[in-house]
Symmetry: C2
Subunit: 233 residues, 2 copies
Amino acid sequence: MEITKDYLASIIDHTLLKPNATAKDVDHLLEEAVMYHFGTVCIRPCDLRYVHHNLEGTGVKTCTVLGFPWGIQSIENKVKEAYAAVRDGADELDIVINRGYLKGGRHDLSKKELNDIVIRVNENIVIKAILETCELTEEEIKTACKIAEESGVDYVKTSTGLYEGATVKAVKLMHKTVPNLGVKASGGIKDWETAYKMIKAGATRIGTSSSVKILSEYMKKFPSEQAEEHKVD
Amino acid sequence: MEITKDYLASIIDHTLLKPNATAKDVDHLLEEAVMYHFGTVCIRPCDLRYVHHNLEGTGVKTCTVLGFPWGIQSIENKVKEAYAAVRDGADELDIVINRGYLKGGRHDLSKKELNDIVIRVNENIVIKAILETCELTEEEIKTACKIAEESGVDYVKTSTGLYEGATVKAVKLMHKTVPNLGVKASGGIKDWETAYKMIKAGATRIGTSSSVKILSEYMKKFPSEQAEEHKVD
């Protein structure tokens, strides 16, 4: 598997979701995203309009989260949040699934809460279902992946970052269960070595707030590509 | 201070918010709430309609949470969530404030997100602002309390239960800062002794999932009142 610097940057969702983050922190994230040309920034709904406005024309896309981080909102509210997010410029929506529905075997509701969003937003919007894998059994992870695929989402995503993050085991299981969907590994990915393990396991997207560190470590490890990149500039 | 069994039950928000809870857990909560006649049940938005329907005529009120547990949704979305919750039968709304606004000094937005809800819902709806005090400095707690009062909410509430819960120190500070508002102590209140400390410190409402245990401990401690209660029956 060959991972170029550009590919690595392009699959990173450069993330800032923590509740204490201020407008200044958001500005810092935006500067980094534009400088390193990450695929998207993944930000809180309360920052969405501002972020979208500031990223216009940069080629960096905007991702936000719905029902984050517990997924306990009503289906109706998640749909409304999705509508508003798309209107406000979101290119990608990461939706926390309702684990109560999943664990209670109410698969009709699990499917409905994703599908109601999928069918209502423009088909160019990338939709990811956040499973919170550390809270699920292997069987539940497989069930959730299949429901996500049936609902028409584009990616399954491991974690919110609130508890334990992505594991190689979970990413492998998700990739194996729904090989036609993308897999976003997120939570606790703080260095290149971990990011690489996730990509090897099947991750096609990385959610992290350590994006600059990961890219820097990659460039130290593969200085030849760095040099080549510089020649191209 | 005299605390009767009826008063204690009446100030308890009998709470089930955890993401993994199933429909069966909700049913169990409802049974307990009706049996012990707690003031309200505090449940997830996804359970609201069902809970309201099942509590009609019991005298137990319905409370739900908005922007829970991180408070990172847009103001618009919190307002929409509030509207839908009231339509679906909520008597009380516990709103997680946006700590990014508070910490960034954007007090106009902090006030707006509460006031936009206060002015739009029926004045009989009880509104509580959840501060998450363990994440705030003393100055920030005082500022948040004053903003909450100016916004017209009825209660300030200590915690979501996600991190450290209520402390005597925080409850005292909140009560002293806004003596005209109610104070809801929540998070980590698992026994009568802790509940009593909170009430002594100024709490006028207790949010807990250990409600039955707390009430049982109270009744063991004050068996005379228990007897008296039995006589009345």
